[in-house]
Symmetry: C2
Subunit: 452 residues, 2 copies
């Protein structure tokens, strides 16, 4: 059967990346870009001192790198591609970063990390920064759509952020480098040629590293293309090119349909809790109940009903480590009920080892019910005083139906930032990030606070 | 249908990489490792001053990097992973490097480049160096076999050296880093998770860069694993792991069958000419005839018969650039007949533009004949004096049937080395490389000559 000719999506995406400007973006997109960057930066601060990051930083410092850009939280500098890699790694560390739910791409990390590292070497205004962030996120999410949404039959063993993340990072860097169309095309192609990442790494440190590698490769691709290093003009749509390699039967028009008017980045979701996404509805329910328990009273008998997938993935009544607790339904139910919180403190070893938490975890009745949606949960608690409390969450918070409010994002940011800096500085940083569109020099505005 | 359990090839390959020693290698393997390294090093010297390398070096020097290892030919140093990347890039530049013919993997580049860069920071004896080179080449070629040989149905849009090269480089580095079994397993897995490279980049600078990226990623993987950065224990054979991602129906036992007794690296081939491999038999025929033309006489009427594939790929009577001349049958026939040589000089612009060469190119009759093998050719020349000369090449030189002799490899090396260093130094370097097994410190022995 004759194949229809393929649209020149490499060129069309490159042209969009060359031409798009902040002023052309709908106000909602401008606002969401600020929220995405704020959420991402908080995750960097929250994750930057965990062991896997410390190892990667030590290896990077051994390799040197010109002191161009900051390794956030480490008081050290390295070259731009490496700084982007390390800061993106920090942001992925608690799996607390954002998610393009349709494809489970984590879009902001590779793009924002690349831009911030670059912005330390060439001043970028907040508006140019946000426009480039949107460009990168759009190309990334749209290429994820091409590979993963119907009619595509994608190769699901790939870690999608590693596959499309380099493209997003390269396009965003290309924008702030002011590349012309041929060079932008090469930057995107050079990045696409480095698509990599296997789901089989999940559960190891490397599983958290894939977005970081995407950041590094995307930045390096744009910097090479800027010097005239050539690549294909049509790598995305070419026969046996990028799309053919990773998915069969893809609809290439998903890459460019409504480009500039429809924004995939608007369906980006933020996590309110550093827990597996399928546990979020149950946490919502338990936090709701916890707020209604009278001081002095305590949960005695606890039942939780969730979609069966949640049990398949997270039925762990006795987690021993943070990596296990992160994906333990019982841990989050118990912690949410006893602490009235579900944040990073609830993933600390002292919380995991707390005898009260452990006793409650062991007493929870969990039920899978296929009649529930994946983001739905019902929790029922009887207290020691005999009070019966119930909460039914139709849609978990953080998703498209119940996006995180600005206030919730701010609180999440402050909690993460306080792991690294004093409260006063965390608040000042929040203020800078919320007003980033009005700054002339993004990197200076941020680092003036961090280093104050 | 129930799948048979998969053999634990990740662990078994890692164990081999941990345990293999030079003294256990058959003499033929020890010798071939020297030839592979010599051929590779010559390609580094031959390619290191071409434009794409100059661009990549400039970008790398801008990024800095601790001055750990030499960028060969550039009088500069950078960190190990970056040095490995740049030196491997130089070696790929003229497509003059080696080929594992069964899979068209270019096995030595990523491995040798990684080892040499590492050897500058920690002295390695020639024997340890050669053993690690063999380990890396074996893992690389064997994983290429798994993905590409029957019964596997491989994804042919991938550039195989970018897919298996990181594994080879990581295993070799892991050997000289003396990693224990868990860390060696992580090194191999971390490298496998970075498999990348698309054939659609061919014909651009990026097409030549893929082995270099494999070198960089493999080196970085081993250095991270050495610090305890974890990855999967079974990434190669896991359901939806490395092999599943890149090929269907693979025979996993190809990875380990006869490991330590059968050596895939023995079927590695070296190129006598910097031309497309399908042109080699015709060049052989024309060089044979050129040697028989009486001084003063000249070819007048030229006919060449080749396998039809050679015409499909290389029927280019009027190449304008070196990249076109590299894959022009007529150019190499004309140049070989008029110069009696087919080396890097025949790919220079002055040779491509030479009116005598151009006139002869235009006068050649080329015929495709499916009865010929792909590595077979017949050339017939009638000279201006009316002498008729014919040559029939049954198998092109360089392949398994007619491997390059030591003398031919040495001559190839000297011709490449003379592009960068004086003849005296080229000869001294050849002597060091030929005797590399007896040196206590490979990097010092090489650089003592280069910097003398």
């Amino acid at each position: 059967m004759e194949q229809p000719p393929r649209p020149p999506i490499t060129r069309d995406l490159a042209r969009y990346a060359v031409q798009a400007r902040y002023a052309d973006l709908p106000a909602q997109v401008q606002t969401e870009a600020v929220r995405a960057f704020l959420n991402w930066f908080g995750c960097v601060l929250g994750g930057c001192h965990e062991l896997p990051v410390e190892i990667a930083v030590a290896a990077a410092l051994d390799a040197g790198g010109a002191p161009q850009s900051s390794i956030i939280g480490h008081g050290a500098r390295t070259d731009r591609a490496t700084a982007a890699y390390l800061n993106c790694f920090s942001s992925s560390l608690h799996a607390f970063d954002d998610t393009h739910l349709a494809t489970v791409t984590h879009p902001t990390g590779p793009v924002a990390a690349g831009l911030l590292a670059f912005a330390e070497t060439a001043p970028i205004s907040g508006r140019d920064f946000l426009a480039a962030l949107v460009i990168g996120m759009e190309l990334e999410c749209r290429m994820s759509d091409v590979l993963l949404l119907p009619p595509a039959q994608a190769n699901l063993s790939l870690y999608i952020t590693g596959v499309t993340g380099p493209i997003g990072a390269a396009a965003a860097l290309g924008r702030v480098l002011d590349l012309d169309l041929p060079r932008m095309t090469w930057a995107i192609s050079l990045a696409a040629a480095q698509a990599s990442g296997l789901r089989a790494t999940h559960g190891s440190m490397t599983g958290l590293l894939v977005p970081a590698l995407a950041a590094r490769n995307g930045v390096a691709a744009a910097l090479l293309a800027a010097r005239g290093f050539s690549c294909s003009e049509n790598i995305l749509e070419a026969a046996n090119g990028f799309v053919d390699t990773f998915a069969a039967g893809a609809d290439f028009t998903r890459a460019t349909a409504g480009l500039g008017t429809h924004f995939e980045m608007l369906s980006n979701a933020y996590k309110p809790y550093p827990a597996g996404i399928v546990i979020h509805a149950a946490i919502d329910a338990c936090l709701d109940i916890a707020a209604r328990i009278t001081p002095g009273d305590r949960p005695a008998d606890v039942g939780v009903t969730v979609h069966p997938l949640t049990l398949t993935l997270t039925n762990r009544p006795a987690p021993a480590t943070a990596l296990q607790a992160m994906i333990s339904l019982q841990h989050w139910v118990a912690a949410a009920l006893l602490h009235g919180e579900a944040g990073l403190a609830e993933m600390r070893q002292d919380c995991i080892d707390d005898p009260d938490i452990a006793a409650l975890r062991a007493a929870i009745t969990v039920v899978g019910d296929a009649a529930l949606r994946r983001d739905e949960a019902i929790a029922t608690v009887t207290t020691t005083a005999g009070v019966r409390l119930q909460a039914h969450i139709a849609h978990a918070s953080g998703g498209a139906k119940r996006p995180m409010s600005d206030a919730a994002l701010d609180a999440k940011f402050i909690a993460q930032a306080q792991r690294v800096v004093a409260s006063r500085k965390a608040e000042a940083l929040l203020k800078v990030l919320r007003g980033i569109a009005d700054h002339d020099d993004v990197a200076r505005a941020i680092h003036d606070v961090l280093e104050s």
